[in-house]
Subunit: 362 residues, 2 copies
């Protein structure tokens, strides 16, 4: 293929700024390649709510655009403006609809500590040096989408409930993704659940063991309860290579793991399905407090674009180039506010300038 179509979902807050820095970096990259990328923008989140009279945070028109594309780059969503909307009219609801409608059942969230930013973490340097964890989070099941759910009145009082539920086939396919990911890494998987209490976790554990035994006999599989995992991530993070877990535990643990790295501003993620385009997005939120002020860190989105090149467009070499360009910028001492530390001798730059530095490094 010599031309790819990529749908851009700039979303809200700092989204448009980091999207344009990312597009700049990708254009700089493809000016050296025989292939090119065509970008097309679509709406999601608050931007989509504004455009649809608060009806849909991921309109069908956006869904169609996404389905047609070779891949999707999402910036971030949400903001004060929509915070008090009912759940149906919240930016997050668009994100959940996108994941579900596009079948993006696997969320890959690397937490790799960069030597240049080792001081940015609240953990001691000796604890986090060399940490390189990949969290493989299931993304379209669990208590997020389980039914029955709702708020009913029973015996004169309200009762709220959501079903924490997994089918064998759902566990099987995420375990396979984890197996494939781990085979390309350290070959070690820690499956995180709460099987000492929950039936759904019991099934999770059994199916995970079955998949690994039959399909990935070389994988070193271990099991950990989610409460212990939350502890071990802080106590001794180097013990982890690949973590596989359900949607809600993965939501919590991947955010926790991101703190090892110091700043969310550096963390990319990939959401992929069994076929069709994936969605690549930074782990951070839309930071409405600094939106429009050219203070945002575009590097997590640029690193997400690298994941897109590698996973969706099959352009691993160019992904490497992009990742190395980001590292070069850090080595050269360029820092946005979120990763700047007192007395680090580095130079504070804005979002635009950081984008230009990456382009130059390419």
């Amino acid at each position: 293929k010599d031309s790819y179509s990529v749908t851009l979902l700039p979303g809200d807050g700092i989204g448009p700024e980091i999207t344009s820095a990312t597009v700049g970096a990708l254009n700089a990259l493809t000016s050296h390649t025989s292939w090119s990328i065509n970008f097309k923008e679509s709406l999601i989140g608050g931007a989509a709510l504004d455009a649809t009279d608060n009806k849909d945070a991921f309109p069908d028109s956006s869904l169609e655009e996404c389905r047609k594309a070779d891949s999707i780059l999402l910036a971030c969503i949400g903001g004060y403006k929509w915070d008090n909307n009912p759940r149906e009219a919240r930016p997050e609801t668009g994100l959940l609809k996108m994941r579900s409608e596009m079948g993006l059942f696997a969320n890959l969230r690397p937490a790799k500590v960069l030597p240049q930013l080792i001081g940015a973490s609240t953990l001691k340097p000796e604890v986090i040096t060399g940490v390189d964890i990949m969290v493989v989070r299931e993304l379209t099941g669990d208590v997020y989408f389980g039914t029955p759910k709702g708020i009913d009145v029973v015996d004169g009082e309200r009762v709220g409930y959501n079903n924490m539920i997994y089918k064998e086939s759902e566990i099987r396919r995420i375990a396979r993704v984890a197996g494939e990911v781990a085979m390309k890494r350290g070959g070690k998987i820690c499956s995180v659940e709460k099987s000492n209490v929950l039936d759904v976790s019991q099934l999770w554990k059994e199916v995970t063991i079955d998949v690994m035994e039959k399909e990935f006999p070389k994988i070193d599989l271990s099991h950990m309860y989610v409460d212990n995992a939350a502890m071990q991530l802080i106590r001794y993070p180097k013990q982890f290579d690949t973590i596989v877990t359900g949607n809600i535990f993965g939501d919590i643990l991947s955010d926790e793991a991101s703190m090892l790295v110091g700043s969310l501003g550096m963390l990319p993620s990939a959401s992929i399905g069994s076929s069709g385009p994936g969605v690549f997005e930074p782990c951070h939120g839309s930071a409405p407090d600094i939106a429009g002020e050219d203070k945002a860190n575009p590097l997590a989105m640029i690193l997400s674009a690298a994941m897109m090149l590698r996973y969706d467009l099959g352009r691993g070499e160019e992904a490497d180039v992009l990742e190395r360009a980001v590292e070069m910028c850090l080595d050269e001492g360029w820092r946005t506010g979120d990763i700047k530390q007192e007395g680090d001798g580095c130079t504070l730059v804005g979002c635009k300038e950081m984008g230009k530095k990456v382009e130059a490094a390419i």
Copy 2:
């Protein structure tokens, strides 16, 4: 009252050792008071399974003993021996039965950083100095006890599920406990849930707001999503005073918070109901790897006994004495293996000796 009855549940692993150190400390304390404590042992966990032919990890005889007592001191449960039992015959199942049968709906887990042990944490000293968090975890509801639950076969494949469910009255009573606790502390509560996704969390949030507005108007109430809370506990733990949350989120976050303190070996907890005796226990597990070797740290259980004196026996002054005795031992430089650090100039002691040091300090 001049005599209290306390049921001891030594449980498994290091349980018996730390129980006898704790009883020693309590006896030393009551040798100076006009009132006394009568201890009676009962079975729970693996010890109970062994005695009942793997039938019941909390037999009705233990339940009766506990109900009759003024308070209950639990050490810890579990061990390799029972790890592969089916869930009905696991030590943890006894714990869950105890909580539920005795109506212990509120679990208080303080995470207070002690200046003497500041170096034991993997977090930087400046991040944790002064941290003093109380996690108020709901303990008898949520996905832990929700029905329907099970593993069924649907359309030819297994499906595992548990219901994440809260009634308004359950949320109301735990919010009240949090309100009372917070009024005696910094007056600040952070309610942790996932109301951007879950109906049950939406209800949690609404009811919590209602309780605070009507019954605790002076409380400074804030709300945080559980993924963000997992992050903020590491990023800037000093922002928290009292955290109130559901059973599973509390399970995860209280274990995470305990890592701020450095060692689980120092952390007490209290589980209380609306009437009847409470259960006081250390947060750590049964450490089967060092069981019987006189290496365990009895201080978390001794601090749990202090919580018992304060909450169940109404002996706050004596609770203070016990807590100060523990601090004195640390100041004097006595350390069990789990809190000993290289080059700290402290003296390594065993479980028994640490108990004696506390007795002496009293």
